[in-house]
């Protein structure tokens, strides 16, 4: 089957990990997009008569609520899918943001060097030395977090890695012939960065960024668990799990089920990420 003429994509689509990861990922994506419209239950609708119903595979569970219900009788599956949607939006937009912003800054400081470079490197050093979570809870702890502020905070606390990685690569690229040649024909700095350097180095950085989507989703879940992400009643993985922690003894499924879906999502993203990385390595070697 001829999938693509691009050798990279061709190899990638033959990698078992990439295919398996993508399949799981697209199933989850479809579930998060279409699920809420197809399910008979609304994630916010309470039904006290139906509270703490176990999932379908336990005695007493029904297909009415495949993952059971929570303490207010809300359908857990509907809530998990709604949380999945939030996680996906936050994960992808944050990584896009830090990838663009971080690598733009990194390329500029790597190319020009000088004072700008020094200051920026010290800032990234300082920021890498404090756990991101301290910074994030410092900012989110006082505001009423919404989806935009969460994306922004996650981005603020993770852009330095991108700046640093691209800077490192550009330092090497800067001395290469094609950059010198571009300088000689009179190309300006921004033009060299955007037209000649960026297309060469950004794809490999973007591949590593796939793994960061998973990292950001975990990070959002942690914040949600601490009560600093999307606020209830809107469900997110973190706040459903935090809520379920109170019912561990008599209704263990509330805390565990969202985690299973979350782990599946993360596993699928990581499988794609590491598969793609392997393919990139084999292409470089040959």
């Amino acid at each position: 089957m001829q999938v693509s003429k691009n050798p990279f994509l061709k190899l990638a689509f033959r990698n078992v990990g990439v295919i398996a990861g993508l399949s799981i990922f697209f199933i989850l994506l479809a579930a998060s997009i279409f699920g809420p419209h197809l399910l008979p239950h609304d994630p916010y609708k309470m039904n006290i008569m139906n509270r703490l119903k176990p999932p379908v595979f336990m005695s007493g569970g029904t297909w009415e609520h495949p993952l059971g219900t929570d303490a207010l009788g809300r359908d857990l599956l509907a809530r998990v899918l709604s949380g999945l949607r939030v996680s996906l939006i936050i994960g992808f937009s944050t990584v896009l943001l830090i990838f663009l912003f971080g690598s733009a800054l990194g390329m500029t400081s790597g190319y020009y060097g000088g004072l700008f470079d020094t200051i920026q490197m010290r800032i990234t050093d300082a920021q890498l030395s404090l756990p991101m979570i301290v910074l994030a809870i410092a900012i989110l702890g006082v505001t009423r977090p919404n989806i935009y502020s969460i994306i922004l905070v996650l981005a603020i606390s993770s852009w330095p890695i991108y700046a640093r990685v691209t800077r490192g690569i550009v330092l090497g690229e800067r001395e290469k012939e094609y950059v010198r040649a571009a300088k000689i024909i009179g190309a300006s700095g921004p033009r060299i960065i955007a037209r000649y350097i960026a297309p060469g180095i950004l794809p490999s950085v973007a591949l590593v960024a796939i793994l960061d989507i998973a990292r950001m989703i975990i990070f959002e879940a942690i914040l949600g668990f601490l009560g600093l992400s999307i606020q209830p009643p809107q469900p997110s993985f973190g706040n459903i799990i935090a809520d379920g922690r109170k019912y561990l003894v008599n209704a263990w499924w509330i805390a565990t089920m969202p985690g299973v879906v979350l782990s599946l999502l993360l596993i699928s993203i990581n499988m794609v990420g590491s598969g793609v990385e392997k393919v990139r390595k084999t292409i470089i070697e040959t």
Partner: protein, 327 residues
């Protein structure tokens, strides 16, 4: 020896700059972001004049740079300031009535932090122990038989454990081990057995990183000529692997450990919250939520300092393991 001293001096100077920037950064962020610590301190019912008076006493009305200068001056003299909220008597929540006189003896940040350090060190150390125990033997065995069943198992272990969020894993461990099986306690700290579950939850974030690094560096080392020579000399494969290969594959591992210390700290913070383990992580989360500026600044200095220190140690160890590396 001269080299070492020069290296230490240079790196310590750089480290000081990093710590300085980190504190400056968090100092400014905490004050720019809305959220009034004075309101939390005096309680909701206090009249506005009291609010103004307390803010003035704490110096919160001065320009930010003046406040920062005063803070730095204190630190140079060994004074990390007093917590805004925590009383000396050891209680943990502020917000007493504004006219309650007891609230005035506030705990020193230095003491608050120091008394929590041993518990967190215990947790982090045990987590590191679990991670080494799990990751390194599995990584070496996976490297020896690439594509064999150990390798496949290790691969599966890495992709699952790297994907499972540790706070959820902590809850699962709590559910299975302490609620269902009732083997280990899980909430709070009353003895060594309370550390086992949280440290295991932290280690499962660290173990896959160790495993992956040691596997790939072992594979690189195994292909080198000296391994073939050692085989030709008739050395036993155990001594080749342990004495020659393992030692040489330590360098990337040490470097990774230096970088991952931030992840270890982040994991410890969250897991301490899950298990209500009274270490630095729990202190940090409450300090941030309560806007306890001096306490947060103190913790940040400690975290940044630890990060810098460990990275210096890692570089020293690397040059000890591989004498070709210069400082």
């Amino acid at each position: 020896m001269g080299y070492v001293i020069y290296f230490l001096a240079r790196r310590s100077a750089q480290g000081l700059i990093i710590v300085f920037f980190a504190v400056f950064f968090i100092f400014m962020v905490m004050r720019i972001v809305p959220g009034d610590p004075v309101r939390l301190m005096v309680g909701g019912a206090a009249p506005d004049q009291v609010l103004q008076k307390v803010a003035k006493e704490l110096g919160l009305k001065d320009p930010l740079l003046v406040q920062f200068g005063r803070y730095l001056k204190g630190i140079v003299q060994g004074d990390f300031g007093n917590s805004f909220i925590r009383p000396k008597s050891g209680g943990s929540v502020g917000g007493e009535a504004w006219d309650d006189k007891r609230a005035h003896a506030r705990a020193e940040v230095f003491d608050l932090i120091v008394e929590r350090i041993p518990l967190t060190l215990l947790l982090a150390g045990m987590a590191m122990g679990w991670a080494i125990l799990l990751g390194i033997p599995l990584g070496i065995m996976a490297a020896l038989r690439q594509g064999g069943w150990v390798d496949k198992f290790a691969n599966a272990f890495v992709s699952v454990s790297i994907s499972v969020p540790n706070f959820w894993l902590g809850i699962i461990l709590m559910l299975i081990v302490s609620i269902r099986l009732k083997i280990l306690p899980s909430v709070g700290y009353k003895g060594l057995s309370y550390v086992i579950l949280p440290s295991f939850a932290v280690s499962l974030e660290l173990a896959p990183i160790l495993l992956r690094t040691i596997r790939s560096s072992m594979i690189d080392v195994l292909q080198m000529n000296f391994v073939k020579v050692a085989k030709a000399r008739g050395l036993s494969s155990w001594s080749i692997i342990m004495k020659h290969c393992f030692r040489n594959s330590l360098i990337p591992l040490l470097n990774v450990l230096g970088v991952q210390i931030g992840i270890l700290l982040g994991g410890v913070i969250v897991v301490e919250f899950v298990f209500n383990y009274p270490g630095l992580g729990l202190l940090t989360i409450y300090a941030v939520l309560q806007r306890d500026f001096p306490l947060i600044q103190g913790i940040v200095i400690l975290f940044a300092g630890v990060f810098v220190f460990i990275n210096i140690i890692v570089d020293l160890l690397c040059s000890y393991v591989d004498r070709r590396l210069t400082f």
